[in-house]
Symmetry: C2
Subunit: 422 residues, 2 copies
């Protein structure tokens, strides 16, 4: 009997399922399409020469070590480097609070593996990061989603949402993917207090924290939580307790093709994540960790991030002014202070998912916003990436998008016509 | 309320739990200990110069591509390279049958994610690879284990074992980790037929296939299964169906520090694994895939594997003769035709787990065999790695081990003494 494979794992794939939208987005790889759909950093900023030098040095000085198996926790100098960087935004951790992961996507998977049993609720922002929900879905998570406004997650709705019972709260406080919105300081404090009051962990996903190009930096939740606990760090022991699991990545500051992210959390949580990671991939590639450390050290990463910020600020500004010129009245968008994305809201009757095929025909692409809503709402929204396309290309893309939107805004849905067809 | 973390994931970590043995094995990293415990390739064989040249070339020619996000399926030239290599052992696949993974450990995790729901049975060899069981444990697998003899898994016991209902059969046909035993051709055929008769998938883990240094190569299960199906491959379409999911790795032939493995399976299975991998880490590092391909191509990998085989053959031979000289009568061991490990069986009353602390005091280490038994048996066995230590070091290690074993063989357990202490 030749095996009908899907009988064996129907349950699992149902929740991971490929969608019509994903199929459409594959078309955006065609070279003549201006795609705002990806979450790609600007490749022309990758420090290729520095990577060449680092590869030579690592292989010449420590070649056999770089190519051998290594510890699940990650390369110690890189963990210490992360500790030092995190201390700048008020996170007093030790290397025992740090786990290197194969991109921050793996951090999401490992957290899900530890926490989520089939049917458990996860609290997410509405909208929230699609990739996180894909990670959680494979453990059969359910969702409780809480609305956002211009100051981020509406913490006034938290208590009611928590009545459903949730395993953890998943939030992206800085320049959220997909909305570009930043959680205000006051709400960060409320969130921390609420987590503490109900004893519910916070998973803080912060891939863009260093990509702020406007406004003032706000402390991460994990720093606010440590301050609340008034943890004495005089012994340099790092975080022994606390309610926040923090994750970030080198994908937006160095290069995504390395797949290097990290988790900062209380030592006990790190120990459990290490055990989980051991079964998942033994450890993150030794070579990429050593090369990334070699590139980043001695102040290079700081100088490089400054360059990225300058370029992304300009791209955001040019994108915003192109939108003001080319998008029809009645369309709204966010003005993020950092990160890679902004968020467009169309009039209620325009479905951005339905509109996508038309946009692709016009050679422009975006991600329909509904993909980011755990409850399937948000049909009139879309995510736009501003980091990837050079400004002149982006301007042309927005011009095309404006034409498409204008057509769809005129097209008021005709229920009767549909009824006839049915 | 500061969160008592383990309340949140007690269920999950219980099955991943760190053991006393693992703690002991941490001691084996001390430089004065001769460790046969690891599964490390000989680092002096790593082709460091070739990696240097490859890094330069990849970054110079395709730097921005190598550092950017890439597809979940993996780097196409590397997938084609794998197709070509697999064709040499009778596997007619296409690139659509190949998924690149972050080490073959990730292949195990992804398969488990697709197939295992809490409480599902997995059929494993007794003993079997510890890392696979760690991967399966995190999905709450249960085990049905089937004894092995010198010809591998005892297929005469299969039908009875399958009566328990199993989700898939997990086997390592070549130079098994931990036992070093190879599954005979006749039993491979029986296994394939049984899988087909009952419609139960086989997961074939084959990390050492290219490291055969004695005897004749046997076809992998996936090739035998395709032959059984008499699949017509004239259209070059690869495997459209079949009952085997095959996995292997570059860890033993190029370098484990890259974390590069792969799965070959029917296209439908690959599609589902790709969806699962997307949520797990998006994709395997672009840079390491491109560098590995650059190193391996143009015949280098073949020449390099020839060198590894020569060295490992000598190390096995020297290890076997050291054992003949230094291990007490009554101790038995396997004589593998390839791979990295051999398997030692002590007299029934000697518990290799209890003996380990004593061995470490004598500055020699191994993995107690019971770690590899799903049913907790095998207390008088141990896994010995022969690939890592140079022959003279290994000889000294075996001499030390012989002394420890001789002491423990004299020590007949005294139940009365224990009773008094209790």
């Amino acid at each position: 009997m030749t095996i009908p494979w899907n009988h064996h794992y129907a349950l699992r794939t149902r929740r991971m399922g490929s969608s019509a939208i994903r199929e459409l987005l594959k078309l955006t790889e065609q070279p003549d399409i201006i795609s705002f759909a990806g979450g790609l950093p600007a490749p022309e900023l990758f420090p290729v020469a520095e990577f060449q030098a680092a590869c030579q040095k690592v292989l010449a000085d420590q070649g056999t070590k770089a190519l051998q198996y290594s510890t699940t926790e990650g390369y110690l100098p890189l963990r210490r480097f992360i500790v030092e960087r995190m201390s700048r935004c008020g996170v007093v951790a030790s290397e025992n609070n740090v786990l290197i992961t194969s991109g921050s996507q793996q951090a999401l998977d490992l957290v899900a593996k530890l926490f989520i049993n089939s049917g458990d609720n996860v609290l997410v922002e509405r909208p929230s990061y699609l990739g996180a929900m894909q990670a959680f879905n494979s453990y059969q998570a359910e969702y409780v989603s809480v609305a956002m406004d211009a100051d981020g997650l509406r913490t006034d709705l938290l208590e009611e949402a928590l009545r459903n019972g949730v395993k953890f709260m998943y939030v992206l406080p800085n320049f959220q993917n997909p909305s570009g919105i930043t959680l205000s300081l006051e709400r960060r404090r409320t969130l921390i207090e609420t987590a503490d009051h109900y004893g519910i962990p916070i998973v803080e996903d912060d891939p863009y924290c260093e990509l702020r190009f406007a406004g003032e930096a706000l402390p991460p939740l994990i720093a606010l939580d440590a301050r609340r606990l008034a943890i004495a760090h005089t012994n340099g022991g790092g975080l022994s307790h606390g309610n926040v699991i923090y994750m970030s990545t080198f994908s937006k500051t160095l290069a995504p093709g390395l797949r290097l992210g990290w988790v900062v959390a209380p030592t006990e949580v790190i120990r459990s994540l290490v055990m989980a990671k051991q079964g998942v991939d033994l450890h993150t590639a030794t070579f990429t960790q050593m090369v990334a450390y070699e590139v980043a050290r001695n102040g290079f990463l700081d100088r490089h991030i400054e360059e990225i910020r300058t370029v992304y600020r300009e791209r955001r500004d040019r994108m915003l002014s192109a939108m003001a010129r080319h998008l029809p009245e009645g369309v709204q968008w966010t003005r993020p202070q950092g990160g890679l994305f902004l968020w467009v809201t169309l009039p209620q009757h325009v479905d951005s998912g339905e509109m996508l095929a038309d946009a692709i025909a016009e050679k422009v692409a975006y991600v329909p916003g509904t993909s980011f809503f755990a409850d399937g709402s948000g049909k009139n929204t879309m995510r736009i990436n501003f980091s990837y396309s050079p400004p002149d290309v982006a301007e042309e893309g927005i011009r095309r998008l404006g034409r498409v939107i204008a057509r769809w805004m005129e097209h008021v849905p005709d229920m009767e016509a549909e009824a006839v067809i049915a």
